[in-house]
Amino acid sequence: MSRGGGRFGGRGGGRGGFAGGATQPPMGLTFADLQNLSREATALYPARHLPVFTDATEDEGRAADLQLGLISRLKDSQYYIVEKTRSNGLPRYSDKYRPSLTSQPALKRKELHAPFFPSELLEDYFNPKRRKKTVSKSGKARVNIDELLAEDEEEKSDDERSDAGSQNEAEDYDVDEEDDNDYAGKLLRQR
């Protein structure tokens, strides 16, 4: 450090005092300060005054106990969702006393009121092997729009008698004469 300081001082002195501002130590310290800096490690966090935890009043203690009781009962209930995993430890004598993997209760259909849940959700969970009758509707919707457009074009051409637009209908999609951004122009021309 002192050698470094000396070197800096030499360079700084060579350039004539404070002309080389970039090599000055930061934060307004001088070289003497840097030399006198302590070499010990500083604490990772500054000293803090931590507030003292006052003891729980009776009501607070009771409320906390009730809350913890509720949480522990929920943990053993059917609402705590677990997945069955295979344990690959050796079988032990105490296994017969430990809560086994199947001891977590499961959701029962008769405890759940069907109108509150989406019917598909309940059906798929409690009846996983049922046949799915519905085809995806979104595909149909997409197809419908194209057909609708085609129908619309034909209807409009009948009503408004703008034959020029309807005859070029099939070609418009293939020909890229205009800009892709020119949608408004395209629509006007199609009409």
Binding site: G61, Q67, L68, L74, K75, L112, F116, P118
Partner: protein, 542 residues
């Protein structure tokens, strides 16, 4: 969808209550908003069957809304408020016990455990067999329903209110013929909101139905009139009405505030005043109670003799009425009729009618939280600057240092530190047309919204840390081993199978768990003050 800290906290709550798998589902919904099942599968990476089970569990406990609109699959959304209320369940059970006794507390407990239940299921889960206890529990249930502590759960309450509003607006807009004007759109929105309110009011009435049989004739005798009462409907699913319990938490907070400000007896008088109208206080949005007469307050006081010990009187014998009137005068800052005095009052006492001012007290409690946080972080000098800025609005740095009687070199770093904590903010007033920093005034002021939001965020982080700490302590190797051993069925029946050290570890762990939970409920009170009591609005009335 919630901001990141609220989302983390809600995920942690779901983890504690419903397990790690369900918390993954909740976390996906909280970070990404409403999602259909297919996208949940993608984002959580869980098996669809597990996700379905988690969603069923969360819907049963009213944490998740679901809706199916035309053209999209079933969408699920997390109800953040309901999730945060889960931290208060212990207090709700205790409150029910204080109000209506142990049977009511057990009913509330079983409902909280299952989300929502019909009365026959409640009684069967509580394992009540003989008819005498059944009658006691039925009466407790009736009291809970009549006092709106339980409310009915309908299929509509499982749809998010925003979704309902949007759907009704669409329905109203469909009725508009031709091109809609701005006025028609506004009317459509108002009609939709009125429709939602009407449906909510109707749901409140569901739950109690009149008794089927009626006495033939006999309108004169009073006894017959009493028998024509309502009975709890056995086919309605009941869930907890958190708002009603929150009212009680608010009342406790206010009486504690009165106790700290004056003395115990003043708190007793305030409590009596609040209790006089407790039946009418259904939610937190009331700015003040209905007018109460002084005699009404005195009726609610049980021990009037004690009151005179709280005040110093020149003569020995003072009537109870004078005592109570003096306390009410104190609580209403009658000696300081200025706006500052009114802001420091607990009640408004005019023409012998008392009204407890909830809005004023809530505002004051929030301000005290802000000052306490500033004092912790920046010391009493920070509080001086904060109070100055709260009182006078926007001020320049030079003026602040003059008024606060501190050197500018002390004020400057404090202002910067407080601004970094979002307690105060700057308003730039440029002197020239270009915003040259050397030629603008920087006025400091307290932006209350920002300050409270920053503190609320910190509080959510703290709650998350407490819960994570509790989980980490539970998963420390020694504690985990002892807890697993204590789960064994033979150990549960016979405590002596645990060694002495194991029993000590278990006791230490239980003490730690209780301390952390008490700490959590204390921090949660802060959330209550900052979030739930802010229904009236945050800005000061200046």
């Amino acid at each position: 969808m919630a901001d990141s800290h609220t989302g983390c906290l809600c995920t942690e709550i779901v983890h504690t209550h419903f397990g790690p798998l369900t918390s993954k589902v909740a976390s996906a919904l909280l970070t990404r908003g409403r999602l259909p099942l297919s996208q949940l599968v993608v984002f959580t990476g869980l098996k669809p069957r597990t996700i379905r089970a988690s969603l069923i569990s969360l819907i049963q406990h009213n944490v998740v809304w679901h809706v199916q609109n035309a053209g999209e699959p079933e969408m699920f959304e997390v109800n953040v408020d309901e999730c945060l209320m889960r931290l208060r369940y212990g207090r709700y059970i205790l409150q029910a016990e204080k109000l209506f006794g142990k049977p009511a507390a057990e009913i509330v407990q079983v409902i909280l455990q299952h989300g929502k239940l019909v009365p026959p299921e409640m009684f069967s889960l509580l394992r009540i067999t003989d008819p005498k206890t059944l009658l006691v529990y039925k009466q407790a249930l009736h009291k809970l329903v009549a006092g709106s502590y339980l409310r009915a759960s309908t299929p509509k309450s499982h749809v998010s209110p925003k979704d309902r509003l949007i759907q009704y607006e669409i329905d109203e807009k469909k009725k508009i013929v031709g091109f809609p004007t701005a006025k028609q759109l506004r009317e459509a929105k108002e009609v939709a909101e009125a429709r939602i309110k009407q449906e909510d009011d109707e749901t409140e009435k569901v739950g109690l139905k009149r008794k089927a049989k009626e006495q033939p004739g006999h309108r004169n005798s009073k006894k017959k009139a009493v028998e024509d009462e309502t009975v709890v409907d056995d086919e309605v699913y009941f869930r907890i009405n958190c708002e009603r319990f929150n009212v009680h938490i608010r009342n406790t907070l206010m009486t504690t505030a009165a106790k700290e400000r004056f003395n115990v007896q003043a708190a007793v008088v305030l409590e009596a005043a609040i209790r006089a109208t407790e039946k009418a206080q259904l939610n937190l949005s009331d700015a003040r109670t209905d007018p109460i007469s002084v005699s009404n307050v005195m009726m609610q006081l049980s021990d009037v003799g004690e009151l005179s010990s709280g005040l110093a009187y020149p003569s020995k014998k003072v009537s109870a009425g004078t005592c109570v009137k003096d306390y009410l005068g104190m609580l209403s800052s009658a000696d300081n009729p200025t706006p500052a005095g009114k802001a420091g009052a607990f009640i408004s006492f005019g023409s012998s009618k008392v009204q407890v001012e909830f809005e004023t007290i809530s505002r004051r409690l929030r301000r005290q939280v802000l000052e306490a946080v500033t004092r912790e972080k920046h010391g009493s000098e920070g509080v001086r600057i904060l109070r100055l800025l709260l009182g006078t609005g926007k001020m320049d740095e030079k003026q602040i240092s003059k008024v606060v009687l501190m050197a500018a070199k002390d004020v400057r770093p404090l202002l910067a530190a407080m601004a970094a904590d979002s307690i105060i903010s700057t308003q730039e007033v440029p002197k020239s047309a270009d915003r040259n920093p050397t030629r603008t005034f920087y006025l400091w002021y307290v932006d209350l919204y920002k300050a409270y939001a920053a503190i609320l965020e910190d509080t959510f982080k703290t709650l998350y840390n407490i819960s994570a700490r509790r989980r980490a302590e539970r998963e420390a190797p020694e504690v985990k081993a002892v807890l697993e051993k204590s789960q064994r069925t033979d150990v549960q029946q016979d405590e002596s199978l645990l060694t002495r050290i194991e029993r000590e570890t278990l006791r230490d762990w239980e003490a730690k768990e209780q301390k952390l939970t008490v700490l959590e409920s204390r921090v949660e009170e802060l959330v209550f003050i900052l979030r739930d009591l802010a229904v009236h609005g945050i800005e000061d009335l200046d």
